[in-house]
Point group: C2
Chain length 447, copies 2
Amino acid sequence: MTTSPRNPSALVVDLYELTMMQAYHLTGIDGWATFDLFVRRLPAGRDFLLVAGLATVLERIEELRFTASDLEYLESLGQFRHDFLDCLEHLRFSGKVAAMPEGTVAFAGEPILRVTAPIIEAQLLETVIMNLIHLQTLIASKAARVVLAADGRGLVDFGLRRTHGTESGLYGARASWIAGFDATSNVEAGKHFGIPVTGTMAHSYVQALADEKEAFRTFVEAFPETVLVVDTYDTLRGVKRVIALAEELGDSFKVRAIRLDSGDLEDLSASARELLDAAGLEKVRIFASGNLDEHGVQRLVRSGAPIDAFGIGTRLGTSEDAPNLDIVYKLAQLDDRPLLKLSTDKATLPGVKQVWREEDGNGVAAKDTVGLAGEDLPGRPLLVPVMEGGRRLAGADESIDAVRERSAGELRRLPPAMRRLETDIEPYPVSVSRKLRALRDELSSKA
Amino acid sequence: MTTSPRNPSALVVDLYELTMMQAYHLTGIDGWATFDLFVRRLPAGRDFLLVAGLATVLERIEELRFTASDLEYLESLGQFRHDFLDCLEHLRFSGKVAAMPEGTVAFAGEPILRVTAPIIEAQLLETVIMNLIHLQTLIASKAARVVLAADGRGLVDFGLRRTHGTESGLYGARASWIAGFDATSNVEAGKHFGIPVTGTMAHSYVQALADEKEAFRTFVEAFPETVLVVDTYDTLRGVKRVIALAEELGDSFKVRAIRLDSGDLEDLSASARELLDAAGLEKVRIFASGNLDEHGVQRLVRSGAPIDAFGIGTRLGTSEDAPNLDIVYKLAQLDDRPLLKLSTDKATLPGVKQVWREEDGNGVAAKDTVGLAGEDLPGRPLLVPVMEGGRRLAGADESIDAVRERSAGELRRLPPAMRRLETDIEPYPVSVSRKLRALRDELSSKA
């Protein structure tokens, strides 16, 4: 299944990538470069990342082509040479990629993806790789927190209406599913990724009918096993109208749930549950939505509110508390020459690297080490080859369900304080191997 | 020029729109509905919106089609009837749209767009209209603040690498240009919207060459009038290497600027300016980037830092301080029947509405009134017809440059405290007309 229904153009680049490429071309710099993708620092209130977006990126890399109209546009800018544009016309990615598989937990400072290719190709991919891994990792990492907070209750992605564009809604649905959500309201995401879609009615349907009871009655005729939104005028009056309809319909009443979308969800869910149970409608479940994130869900779950499932929208879809990650794509090696950058607060680690994770006796993640790829360090190496010669390796073509399963396992292996979303906990220990430190110090002193 | 190179599918909907449509279809609810798009509350620290995204939305509405594979997918969900799917197959938007033109300043509670169409069509558009106007209005509103802070200095959008997807980068570039930015690094946005693109080199180019001086020399050979990034190892040492290159090249040295991308930009720009001036390089300008937003820019401009232009990236591209707007799309009328919703904190205004803006003697926006469309109220009406019979009206097809000019005029007419980005100022006065208040009260009492 294709992950990128929109296939954006090879011009999804920052202009400086193309000018640098022409300068490499002219200067005869054509060695193989290794670039690392990593998150420098985690946002406040976040302790881990859930990596996502790799399948999308690999597909884009394979498809990468400059069209005739792209080249015409570049020519019109008046700064590119014909020999360089000819080179772009025939450019295909021929390099290799190693990456943490989607659904892996990662921490700050760890390479999550590594490109090794002729420098002109590796440079071209900078922006598109950053952009797509950033988006899905951002949303998957937020969604994972919601999943932990929900503690087994149902979760539906409602983000599409306020995500940053429709592509963000599509990949946000994918990322939430990977993290453990149960469904999405986004129909395009359902079609493209096979994610279950759910959704029944909004307030507008209730408004459009003569009155609320008529709205419920007609909607149930159209969709007997539906979910009725009860807060258009007054939540508990809405619940009573559902009960009245149940009495009227008798055995043919099959409504699955009511949805609360405003007000104090803790109080209202308790009162609604009481009303429903008193009417013998124990089977009718309660679904809640409205400005929820992991904190709201955790508060409701811990209070014992009788809510069976949550719809999570804007705060997840825009990762409201942390709308971006400090993700970067940095040159680490050219041919045999390890490289670094020393800019204030933006220094990098040189060389071709690997990340090893050690787990404790219970399988809980205990300690990561970033070292040089050839080292023999304790733990499980997290970066695995996913592309060679510009083509995805067979093992890299995972189903989204396999990724979701990996993610569930990784979340189970998080340190318990992280699983409880505790605040102000010690950062997870990520160290740099002795060899890598020595290499960095040696290169720093020479720069 | 097309504004949507990616043409997403008609399935960019929340499932509940389709289920409601089927229920309307079955129930015979086929009247003409009016839906309003508006922002309920402004985010903390924001005092106005700059409306954008209309051209994109109108184009999508015109192009809206369910493909055979869309219909096949919907059928596979097992809840849609064949007669309804047949209706979708032939569905084209036949209604009308009125909207504030792009580049208009708007405030909370004001309809910025109004759809009037057969309810099944108007309901279908809910998510796609919200999503696209939300994104561009969010970014244009943030970019406008950066433009005000920069007070005439150059501004370049650097957002693409960390926007939420590549579509968000594309429309973010469009929105920033509308708000008054001078260029973007996003090549796709340059191609599709004709926005000037800029960009020269990153740290990776400096790292890839044998040393920084060699990097500058070769880059200047490839692009004589370039901008050199000087902070790869040590900013002021980088500046001195630029000066050494200028001395070596003499008259053939044509470098336009240096770029500072890390460290204390106020101090470093002052020191760099001194070094450059002392070397007779007064013409070499200073460009600064790195974690900037309107606050950083305003601080640097007010401190007198000798910075000529700014690159603004992630904090703009993700609207970091306010990554979403409380935008909604609400049913306000069905045929002749004005409608409202009373949900806690989410109540709406009924009827087909208009917004009037009164300006003071200096042309500064002074007061807005939301009233019923037929009323005769003082001021300039802000909502204008842009689509009828499902087709854009001739006047609605504006060039992006015309929109940018309108935006500049609107920003000039903002109250001075807003132009200065003062905090904790009185909200702009938006009142509800007496007739509209009376209608709301009457309907509330009946609900």
